[in-house]
C-alpha cells in the first residue's frame, strides 16, 4: 500500500526539518538494518530480531534483514535499498544510524523510519526508541556491589561512545550506592566512539586483568565481545553480568551461563514489537524513551543467583522511578 | 674440419639440430656441437650470434624447440639447471649468478650442500672448498661476502662452484673478459689440468688469440647457426675473424697524441675507506682534454672504488676531485653527470641497466635530466625512442626494436647500448671500466675508433680495463694500481703487456723507465 502523506505539521519539537508525518495503512513489508555484528551476536541485534519476529508472527508481514559491510560504510545505503524495495517501516538498529537515517529520511519523506538508540531526530518520519540504559545499569551495578566479596567490581565497554559510557555511568553509580568505597575497574576495547562489539579476545584479556586486580563481578557493554568476559569469569570462577538480553538464556553454553549473575535487560524486543503493533493499530509511531518506569530496561533473575537481592534491587528501582535517585548518564571520570 | 680426438668413445656432449626461438628471434637455428672427453672446445661468434643461448640450453635453463642433447652418447632432456647438474654439467655465466649477500662458502655449496642427514656440514664444505682453491690456485676466502668481491674474485667463485660439484663438463661463458693476462694464464693452466683429468670444457670468448692458444677445437657461430668447427692449430686469428664476421681482426693501434694543456679532471690525494680499511689511498692524477689516462691493476686493487668515487657514488674520506677546474668532491652524481661526466660501469647489469624495462627507457637512464629525451620536469618517450633507434644504428646494437626489454639483448649488445648511450651525450669526461667487455672483435674495433675520435675532439677519458692491449693501445699515460695506491706511471709507447703485468703484481715498482709528462708533449 502506498504510504499516505500526512500533514507535515509536526506537533512537538517545534518544526521538523525533514520528512513528513507518515501514516501507514497496512504493514506488508518491514526492513531491518543491523548494527555491526549482524544476526547472531547474542545480544543487541538478536534482541531486535526477537521483537521483529514476534510481531511478524502476529501481523504477518514480510521482513527483509540487511547487514552492514565490514567497514560499516554502507549503513545509509542499506536504508535506501530497503526504502527502494518498498519496505515501510524501516528499522535501523543502533545509534550509528543516527546521521545516516536522518539523511535518508529526508530523501524518503513518506517512509517511516524507526531507530533504536541514538540522539533525537529532527525528522517527522523518524521515530527514535531510546532506553534508559544508565538506570538499568544502576540496578545491575547495585547487584554487583551486593554480590562482590572483594569490594572490587569490573566493567568492560566496547568503546567510548556516549551510549556505551552511559552503561558505565549507571553501573558505577549503582555500585557506589551500595558501597561508596567500592572500586570499579573499567576497560574499553576501542579507543574511539566506534566498534569494539566484535572482539571477544580483547574483552577476555581485559576481563582477566580486572579479575587479577580483585574484581569478582564483571559487567560488559560490548555486544558479542562480551563472550570473552564470560569466558574469563567462568575460568576464574567469578561472576559476569550480561547486557541487552537475558544472556543466561541466550549464551548457549551452560558452562558460561552458570557464571552469569544477572543481565541488564534492554527490552528491545518488546519495544520493537510494540512500535510495530502501534503502527498497525494507529498508523503511526512516535519517538519514545523507555525507562525503568515503562519496563524499557530492567534486570534478569534467571538462574536464581540474585533471588535474595531482589527486594533491595526493587527498592532502588522504586527510588529511581520516583525520582528520588537520579541516575546520571555521564561517568564521573 | 677434423674429427674429435678420440673418435671411438662417444662425445661427452653432443648437440644435434638445436633450434631455440625467442618471440620474433631465432637465437639458435639447427646448431650442431660435439665435445669430446678431455677436450677444450671454444665457441666464437659475434655479439648476438647465439652463444649464450646455446650454453644456457646445454645448462637446462631453457628447453630448445628442436634438436637433441646427448651426454656420453645418451640422449637426455634437461629441463632445469638441476637436471644439467645431475648429468655432470656445470656453467659459469657471462653475467654472474651469485647471491651477493652470501659468503663465498655459501655460494659455492649452494644447491649441492655437503650434509650429514638433513644437517648442513659446514666443516666439510670448508675443507673441500679450500682443497679446490689450493689445487687450482683460486685463492678463495670462504668467509668473504660476495658483495665485497671484485669481479675477478667473483669469477673465481663461479668456477669453484662448478668444480665443487665435480662437474665433468664445464661451460664457461666469456670467463676471461675481465681477467688480466696473468689471471688468464692461471685460468688456462687450470683448464689444462682439468683436461688432463678427463673433463671437457666448452668456453665462449671474443679474444681469438686466447681461443687459439687454449682450445683444441673451435666452433664458429654466425647468426644463430653453426658455420663450422675447426682445429685450433690449423687456423689463424684472421681466418677465425673472417669466419665469424667476414672482416679483419682489429688491432689497438696507437694514434697521434691529441693531449692538450687544459686539465679536464684533477684528482688530489683521494682516499676511500671500507670496513675501516683504506681501499684507495692518496691517489692523485690529472686528465687533460684529449687525453686517455689508463689504470692497470689486478682486480681488487681499488679500481672500482676509484671509478665510483669519481662518479660520486662513493664518498671519499680525503682528497679532492676537480672537474674543469671546479671542486666537485662533494657534489652529487647527478650534478657530475650534468657537468659532462659519463660512466661505463664494470658490471652493466648492476649499475647501468634496467633489465625489465624497454631499451628506450634504458636510454633515458642517467640522462633523464637533459634534452632532448629528458628534461627538468618531463621526459619525452618519443624523443627517447628516436634516440635509442639512432644509437642502435650507429653502435650496431642488434635488437628487434626499441621496445624490447634490455634483458633480452645479448651481453655484447647490452654493452654497446651502454657505451652508445654514454657517448651520445657528448661528455667532457668519460669514466669507463672495461668499455669493450664482452663485445665481439668487430664491435671492439669500432668502439676503439670512436673513443679515439672523441679523444681527438677533446674528450678526457679515465680508462680502467683488464684488457692490456686495449689499455696500452688507447692510453696516453698509464697508472698502475696496487693495494689502492698508484705505484707506477708508465708510458704506453714503451711498455709491453708482459712488463705491465709485472708492475701490476707488484714484482716491479716505481717509475723506472717511464717518461715524464713533459717528455710526452
Amino acid at each position: 500500500a502506498p504510504p499516505q502523506a500526512g500533514g507535515s505539521t509536526s506537533t512537538e519539537g517545534g518544526g521538523s526539518t525533514c520528512g513528513n508525518e507518515v501514516t501507514i495503512d497496512e504493514v506488508t513489508s518491514v526492513g531491518l538494518a543491523f548494527d555491526s555484528g549482524g544476526r547472531g551476536d547474542l545480544s543487541f541485534n538478536d534482541a531486535t530480531v526477537a521483537g521483529l519476529e514476534q510481531a511478524q508472527e502476529e501481523i504477518g508481514f514480510e521482513a527483509t534483514e540487511l547487514s552492514p559491510n565490514a567497514d560499516g560504510s554502507n549503513r545509509g545505503d542499506l536504508l535506501r535499498q530497503l526504502a527502494d524495495a518498498g519496505n515501510n517501516p524501516i528499522i535501523g538498529n543502533g545509534f550509528q544510524f543516527s546521521e545516516d537515517m536522518d539523511t535518508v529520511a529526508a530523501e524518503y519523506p513518506d517512509t517511516q523510519f524507526i531507530r533504536i538508540d541514538g540522539g533525537p531526530s529532527d525528522c517527522a518520519n523518524v521515530a527514535v526508541l531510546t532506553f534508559a540504559e544508565p538506570q538499568g545499569s544502576f540496578l545491575v551495578g547495585a547487584a554487583a556491589a551486593l554480590t562482590s566479596e572483594t569490594g572490587v567490581v569490573g566493567y568492560v565497554g566496547a568503546n567510548t561512545s556516549e551510549l556505551i559510557e552511559g552503561f558505565r555511568a549507571g553501573y558505577t553509580q549503582g555500585a557506589q550506592a551500595v558501597n561508596p568505597d567500592i572500586e570499579v575497574l573499567t576497560a574499553t576495547l576501542e579507543p574511539g566512539p566506534e566498534d569494539g562489539y566484535n572482539d571477544p579476545a580483547a574483552a577476555r584479556v581485559a576481563a582477566e586483568a580486572q579479575i587479577e586486580q580483585g574484581a569478582d563481578v564483571l559487567y560488559h557493554a560490548s555486544g558479542s565481545s562480551g563472550v570473552g568476559v564470560f569466558e574469563a569469569a567462568a575460568a576464574a570462577d567469578v561472576w559476569g553480568i550480561g547486557v541487552d538480553q537475558d544472556q543466561y538464556n541466550t549464551i548457549g553454553d551452560p558452562a558460561l551461563a552458570e557464571h552469569i549473575l544477572t543481565s541488564m535487560l534492554k527490552n528491545l524486543d518488546a519495544a520493537v514489537y510494540e512500535s510495530l503493533t502501534t503502527i498497525v493499530e494507529e498508523g503511526s509511531v512516535d519517538s519514545q524513551n523507555l525507562t525503568l518506569a515503562e519496563d524499557g530496561v530492567g534486570y534478569s533473575t534467571t538462574g536464581g543467583f540474585i533471588d535474595d537481592l531482589v527486594p533491595q534491587l526493587e527498592e532502588y528501582k522504586q527510588q529511581i522511578v520516583d525520582g528520588e535517585i537520579e541516575v546520571s548518564a555521564t561517568p564521573a571520570s | 674440419m677434423t674429427s674429435a680426438p678420440d673418435a671411438a668413445a662417444p662425445p661427452a656432449i653432443e648437440l644435434r639440430g638445436i633450434t631455440k626461438r625467442f618471440p620474433g628471434v631465432v637465437a639458435n637455428r639447427d646448431v650442431h656441437l660435439s665435445v669430446a672427453r678431455g677436450e677444450v672446445h671454444a665457441l666464437v661468434g659475434e655479439n648476438g650470434a647465439g652463444k649464450s643461448t646455446l650454453m644456457k640450453t646445454l645448462y637446462g635453463m631453457h628447453v630448445p624447440e628442436e634438436g637433441t642433447i646427448s651426454v656420453d652418447g645418451e640422449v637426455v632432456t634437461l629441463r632445469s639447471p638441476g637436471d644439467a647438474i645431475g648429468h655432470g654439467i656445470g656453467m659459469v655465466h657471462q653475467h654472474f649468478m651469485l647471491a651477493d649477500n652470501f659468503t663465498v662458502l655459501e655460494n659455492v655449496v649452494l644447491g649441492s650442500e655437503p650434509h650429514r642427514g638433513p644437517r648442513l656440514d659446514v666443516a666439510e664444505s670448508r675443507r673441500r672448498i679450500l682443497e679446490i682453491s689450493d689445487r687450482y690456485g683460486l685463492g678463495l676466502r670462504p668467509d668473504a661476502v660476495v658483495e665485497d668481491l671484485s669481479v675477478a674474485d667473483r669469477q673465481r667463485v663461479e668456477i669453484a662452484k662448478v668444480l665443487f660439484r665435480g662437474a665433468r663438463v664445464l661451460i664457461l661463458d666469456e670467463p676471461t673478459a675481465v681477467l688480466v693476462p696473468q689471471e688468464v694464464d692461471a685460468l688456462f693452466a687450470n683448464l689444462a689440468e682439468l683436461r688432463r683429468e678427463g673433463l671437457s670444457v666448452v668456453f665462449v670468448s671474443h679474444k681469438l688469440d686466447e681461443v687459439r692458444a687454449v682450445a683444441d677445437r673451435i666452433t664458429v657461430l654466425r647468426r644463430g647457426t653453426t658455420v663450422g668447427t675447426v682445429d685450433a692449430d690449423e687456423v689463424t686469428s684472421r681466418q677465425l675473424a673472417e669466419l665469424m664476421v667476414g672482416s679483419e681482426l682489429p688491432v689497438a693501434e696507437r694514434a697521434a697524441s691529441t693531449v692538450t694543456d687544459e686539465v679536464a679532471l684533477a684528482v688530489h690525494g683521494l682516499a676511500v675507506e671500507r670496513g675501516g680499511r683504506r681501499v684507495l689511498d692518496d691517489v692523485s692524477f690529472e686528465v687533460h682534454r684529449g687525453e686517455v689516462v689508463g689504470f692497470a691493476g689486478v682486480e681488487g686493487n681499488g679500481q672500482s672504488e676509484l671509478v665510483e668515487a669519481l662518479l660520486g657514488v662513493l664518498a671519499p674520506t680525503a682528497g679532492t676531485v676537480e672537474l674543469g677546474g671546479e671542486d666537485i668532491t662533494r657534489t652529487s652524481t647527478l650534478r657530475r653527470r650534468g657537468a659532462g661526466m659519463a660512466f661505463v660501469p664494470e658490471d652493466r647489469h648492476r649499475q647501468a641497466l634496467l633489465l625489465e624495462a624497454p631499451l628506450w627507457e634504458n636510454r633515458l637512464l642517467g640522462h633523464q635530466g637533459s634534452a632532448p629525451a629528458g628534461g627538468r620536469f618531463l621526459v619525452h618517450p618519443r624523443a627517447a625512442r628516436e634516440q635509442t633507434a639512432r644509437i642502435m644504428a650507429e653502435w650496431d646494437v642488434r635488437a628487434p626494436g626499441v621496445e624490447v626489454r634490455a634483458g633480452a639483448l645479448s651481453g655484447g649488445n647490452q654493452q654497446k647500448l651502454v657505451i652508445g648511450r654514454e657517448m651520445e651525450a657528448q661528455p667532457k669526461v668519460l669514466v669507463a671500466a672495461h668499455p669493450t667487455r664482452g663485445v665481439d672483435v668487430g664491435a671492439q674495433s669500432s668502439i676503439w675508433g670512436r673513443l679515439r675520435d672523441a679523444r681527438a675532439e677533446g674528450l678526457a677519458t679515465v680508462l680502467v680495463s683488464a684488457d692490456l692491449d686495449e689499455l696500452i693501445g688507447l692510453s696516453d699515460v698509464l697508472h698502475v694500481m696496487l693495494r689502492g695506491r698508484l705505484v707506477a706511471t708508465l708510458d704506453p709507447r714503451d711498455v709491453t703487456p708482459e712488463v705491465l703485468g709485472t708492475y701490476m703484481t707488484g714484482a716491479a715498482t716505481g717509475d723506472a723507465g717511464t717518461t715524464t709528462e713533459e717528455d710526452r708533449r
Partner: protein, 384 residues
C-alpha cells in the same frame, strides 16, 4: 592509437576475468549447496525500479571513489618497491585534521574546499613522512613502521576528536565530533546531471569528489609515465644500484615517493567528509587503506587498472545486501565476493601475460630474426 590500444590492453583482461570469475564462482556455489543462478542474479542485480537502479549506480560510484584513491596512493609507493601499508593510518589522521580545520574555518566556497583538501594532503604526507624518514635515516623496514603507525593513528584520531579537535560549540554529551563543515565546504554532487545521460537521478547525489579522483588519476598516470620524477621512481624501484649510478638520489626518492603516497592517502577520507558526514565522528569509515592494497595489486599498479579494480570492489560490496535479500547468508556472500576477486586476480594475471607475449610478438614481428642491423629495426619502428 597506441594510447587507445594501451588502455584496451589494460581494460580487456579484467573484463574477461570478471566473466570467467563468475563461472568459477557459480561452480563453487553449487558445491556449497547454494543455488548459483539466484546468487549470481542477485550479484548483478541492480534492483527492479529505475529509482533503485539509479541509487545502486550511485552507491557503486560513490563507493569506488575512496577505494580508487587508496589504490592509487598504494601504487605510487609500490612503483618504488615500497609497501605503504600505512595508507590506512594516513587517511585517518588526514581526515581528522582536515575536518577540524575545515570546521573551524569560514571561507568562501571554492577556497574553503581547497584549504581542506590541502590540509588533508599535508597531514597525510606528514604522517607518511615518519616511516619514510625512519627508512631513509635508520633503514627501518616501512612495513612494520606503517603497521604500528596505523594502530597509533586510531588512538591519535580518537584522542584528537575527543579533546583538542572536539566541536566546542556542541554541548556536553553526545558523541565527540569535529565541528561540522559550513555550507561553503560542502561539495555539490552529481544528481540532476544523470538526466543528461537519460538516466533517473539517484535520491542522493554522487559525490562531487569523483571529479577530484578523475583528476588525480590522470595526473598520477601522467606523472608516472611522462615526468622525470615518474621515470626516476620506476628506475629506483627496478634497479636501485643502477639508479644511484645514474644520478638518481635513492634516499630522496624514497622520501618523495612516500610523501606523495601519503598526500594521496590524505584524500581517501575526503569524499566522506565533504559530501556525506561533514564532520569526523563516530561513523567515519575505516579499513579503506587495507582494501586499497588489494585494489592496487589487482589493478596491477596502473591507473586504469586501479579504477577498474576499485569499481569491482565497490560493485561486490554493494552486492552484499542484494545477496542477503536472496536468502544467502552473509558468510556465503563473503565467500562469493572473495572468490570473485581471487579469480579475477588470477585470470587478469594470465591474460596480462598472454597480452604481453602477443605485444612482444607484434613488436618483434616487424623485424627480421636475429642479428639484423638496427637500421632495419628503426625503419620497422617508423612504419608502425
Amino acid at each position: 592509437m597506441t594510447a587507445v590500444r594501451r588502455l584496451g590492453a589494460a581494460l580487456a583482461p579484467p573484463a574477461v576475468a570478471v566473466l570467467i570469475a563468475l563461472a568459477i564462482t557459480a561452480l563453487l556455489l553449487t558445491v556449497l549447496g547454494v543455488d548459483a543462478l539466484t546468487a549470481l542474479r542477485a550479484l548483478v542485480d541492480f534492483g527492479g525500479s529505475a529509482q533503485g537502479q539509479a541509487n545502486q549506480l550511485r552507491t557503486l560510484l560513490t563507493g569506488a571513489v575512496p577505494l580508487f584513491l587508496a589504490g592509487v596512493a598504494v601504487s605510487v609507493a609500490f612503483r618504488m618497491n615500497l609497501f605503504n601499508i600505512g595508507v590506512e593510518g594516513q587517511y585517518r589522521v588526514a581526515a581528522v585534521c582536515a575536518a577540524y580545520v575545515g570546521g573551524e574555518l569560514a571561507l568562501p566556497m571554492p577556497l574553503h574546499v581547497l584549504v581542506i583538501v590541502l590540509v588533508a594532503m599535508l597531514a597525510g604526507a606528514a604522517y607518511a613522512a615518519v616511516p619514510a624518514v625512519l627508512k631513509v635515516t635508520r633503514g627501518v623496514n616501512e612495513v612494520i613502521t606503517t603497521i604500528m603507525l596505523n594502530s597509533i593513528a586510531v588512538g591519535l584520531a580518537a584522542y584528537l576528536v575527543a579533546g583538542p579537535f572536539r566541536d566546542s560549540t556542541a554541548g556536553e554529551g553526545g558523541n565527540p565530533t569535529t565541528r561540522p563543515l559550513g555550507e561553503s565546504a560542502r561539495l555539490p554532487g552529481f544528481q540532476d546531471s544523470f538526466l543528461l545521460l537519460g538516466l533517473q537521478p539517484p535520491t542522493r547525489p554522487v559525490t562531487g569528489f569523483i571529479v577530484v579522483a578523475v583528476v588525480v588519476g590522470v595526473v598520477v598516470a601522467l606523472l608516472v609515465s611522462r615526468t622525470r620524477f615518474g621515470f626516476e621512481l620506476r628506475a629506483s624501484g627496478a634497479n636501485p644500484t643502477a639508479a644511484v649510478a645514474s644520478g638518481i638520489p635513492a634516499k630522496a626518492m624514497v622520501l618523495r615517493a612516500m610523501l606523495l603516497s601519503g598526500a594521496l592517502a590524505g584524500l581517501v577520507g575526503l569524499p566522506e567528509l565533504l559530501s556525506e558526514d561533514y564532520s569526523y565522528g563516530t561513523s567515519f569509515t575505516s579499513g579503506l587503506g587495507f582494501t586499497g592494497i588489494a585494489v592496487a595489486l589487482l589493478g596491477r599498479n596502473s591507473v586504469p587498472g586501479i579504477a577498474v579494480a576499485a569499481l569491482l570492489f565497490s560493485f561486490l560490496d554493494r552486492a552484499g545486501p542484494s545477496l542477503e535479500t536472496q536468502g544467502i547468508p552473509p558468510s556465503v556472500s563473503t565467500i562469493i565476493q572473495g572468490t570473485v576477486v581471487l579469480t579475477v586476480v588470477v585470470v587478469n594475471e594470465v591474460a596480462a601475460r598472454l597480452l604481453a607475449r602477443r605485444e612482444d610478438r607484434r613488436v618483434r614481428g616487424r623485424t627480421e630474426p636475429a642479428a639484423v642491423p638496427a637500421a632495419a629495426a628503426q625503419q620497422g619502428e617508423g612504419r608502425a
